[in-house]
Symmetry: C2
Subunit: 196 residues, 2 copies
Amino acid sequence: MEVTRPWKQLILRALESSSHLQRSSYFQLATVGSNGRPSNRTVCFKGFLEDSDNIQIHTDKRRRKFEELKCHPFAEICWYFTDSWEQFRINGRVDVIDGSNSDPVKLQIREKSWLACSMELRLQYLASNPGLPCPSEQPQHFKLDPSTGPLDTFCLLILDPDQVDYVNLKSNQRLRFISRLSDNGEKFWTSEKINP
Amino acid sequence: MEVTRPWKQLILRALESSSHLQRSSYFQLATVGSNGRPSNRTVCFKGFLEDSDNIQIHTDKRRRKFEELKCHPFAEICWYFTDSWEQFRINGRVDVIDGSNSDPVKLQIREKSWLACSMELRLQYLASNPGLPCPSEQPQHFKLDPSTGPLDTFCLLILDPDQVDYVNLKSNQRLRFISRLSDNGEKFWTSEKINP
């Protein structure tokens, strides 16, 4: 059955009905590490890119997932809505956009994403190298001008989904959405009801 | 610094303080698929194996993670406690124990795990093949004798952790625990404070 991104509508509905819960904007992002083992961490949903179905995530270039995704640009999001018992598994390719990107349109999207961050979030990109030993207990105080553009450590990830698995554990229904390319190169989605 | 599994104490404390929340016993398990891409899904914590630090999970042999873990037996759990803002990333090797296992001790552990399941959970292992197209709307009704041993589809996964990354987003503290082997072959843990 051909469909027009109904999984996105399902996510938007789940987000709306749980908008009072801060936790609903967090999901788990799995990648494959340089040693071939899986990595998994909680990240924050930064919205869909314009009116596409591409998902935006922020990261620090110094975090492991930056290198992991550069080498192996595939990820699966697991997004579980704890109140509605709905789970989305979103698999796709990730575009890693840091300041060295050669595409001016992508750099513009990165800048827009940076400016949408609170000052508190922006300051995190000035903090000590994440994951490195932390010898001192001294609190760090940083300052940043609100007009300062994206810091070098700021990186935008854009996941372009090609398969979405949706399950509703209350109604016990499961749907699989698969993207395909039409003859004229346009992406479209098919969906199928599968056993939960 | 040598430590005796303090990450397990941290998990037990987080579990205890969120024991009123059913969602706290769920976490996300990442594996690597046969196509080399990451997979990620929500699963339920089935307790530590006896007094070890090995983590038990149940699955159906017909689910994709069974084959994935047979081929590539590494996984990373991401366990985020939404109320205390604590995250555990637990990386390790997974032992896949189904009915064809040749080790009688492991088969016994599998049987014990099966008997600890509610009847409702056991019946799920009789349901139609998960992930296959679901043509009919007819509800399924199954019956099972409470004394029936583990069904063939029932599989126990045991994750043996070798690295744990803990972060507390309230106190902004992060610890990395790494397991090592002593000269006499015993496993022990070291921990290090790292930048969040």
